[in-house]
């Protein structure tokens, strides 16, 4: 464990997208591909597939990169 020294968001939440957002979007894409693929054009399918791969990478990177961060909040911090 380590105390973070800066105020940046945790790794889990870094710049582009959070794990949760990426994961949810991935679920959404899979759902669409499963249920609506018949209505998709080839271009749409490829677009969704590519986005899915990107999201998978984001999620995996986040899982692999993270190290637990613990920060103490002062109990004097009333305001």
């Amino acid at each position: 464990m380590k105390s973070s020294k800066n105020n940046s968001e945790g790794l889990f939440e870094s710049r582009e997208a959070s794990f949760e957002k990426s994961f949810r979007r991935l679920e959404e894409i899979l759902g669409k591909l499963e249920n609506e693929i018949e209505d998709f054009s080839l271009e749409e399918i490829i677009k969704h597939y590519k986005e899915g791969l990107q999201l998978l990478k984001i999620c995996r990177d986040k899982l692999n990169a993270a190290e637990l961060q613990i920060e103490k909040i002062s109990t004097e911090e009333k305001n």
């Binding site: 973070s4 693929i37 998709f40 899915g52 995996r60 637990l68 961060q69 103490k72 109990t75």
Partner: protein, 413 residues
Amino acid sequence: MNVITVSELSRKIRSVIENDFKVISVVGEISNFRHHQSGHFYFTLKDDKSQIGANMWSSNNILLRFKPEDGMKVIVKGRVTVYESRGSYQIDVWEMERAGEGELQFAFEELKRKLFEEGLFDQVHKKELPEFPARVGLITSEAGAAYHDFVKITKKRYPFVKLFLISAMMQGASAPLSIINAIRIGNKSKHKPEMLVIARGGGSAEDLSCFNNEKLAREIFASEIPVVSAIGHEIDFTIVDFVSDLRAPTPSAAAEMIFPDKAELMKKLNSMNYELGNSVFTKFSNMKNQLNSISNNYYFKRPADILNQYRFTLDENEKLLQSIPARKLNGMKTILDSTEKLLNSLAPEQVLKRGFTIITRDNKVMSRKSMVKTDDNIEIKFFDGVSGARITKPHGTLTADENKIIKNEIKQK
């Protein structure tokens, strides 16, 4: 007046006292407690005005589930005994229970009932916890085992989370206020934790009594952020358990309940990866099959087929024409001529000319002897006319000569 000895008096007092106080229950506070090396307890039981000596032999105190100490309020059951030699009386204790326990239990049940009736424990008020928490406020004592346990499981399961430690006292009279303060800080924090976990290792009923505090319960209920109770229990639930949005039986269990497991997530991602590829490749392969079946479709293939057929016939005819020289055509003409002759010779007229006739009766051809009988009128058709006749001899067979003639006639053709 009779004069009696000290011993006699003492014996009389003893018999009066011991007969009058055979079984008694007394409530009081323990003071001057001594646990003698023999195993016996010696102490004084007192209230604000009076006191009385007491002892509890080791054979009785060995079953006691708590350790008596000075200041503890207890109810003892026993009898009064007199030491004649010292002129003193005391309680011989058989059983002892903590006087506060019943009261505490009663107060707990009362508070529980009150808050329940107010709806503080209602399921409808339970806030939903995020499935993938990113920021979690941990309210605990940094020195406690709860902190260590919670962090250890979190590290192993879900190291992506950011923990915010909000230190609080987790035991004693000032614990409720300290925890209330921590909940307020968590709610106001600029770090915006998504949930607060109140963690404390196991303890006795007395250790955990601070979690049965009404003000604390109301503070948890009022918290905008969901609150998880992670209080180790050897005993029943606390009020904090009932009012929290999620109750875990230990700090470690709390970490397991609120955080998904990294290994599981990885597995899930792998299966999603497979699904993603699979759905797209299935679709592509379907599209390819469709394309193939369309291009193989009869309607698409027919124009080519028809053209091919024409082309084939054309080629065959051309080949045929080229392979037939003129003299062969002449030879074929000779064959045609003789074939024509043959066909003509088989015409009925030609046959009749050679001597055969046709026999009819009522315009029906009589081709067998069984078809006619004696006295039938018949007609004989020659090639040049008809003659009437009557059957005179209906039965019989052809002679050998007649057979020969017919066979020769047929051979000629």
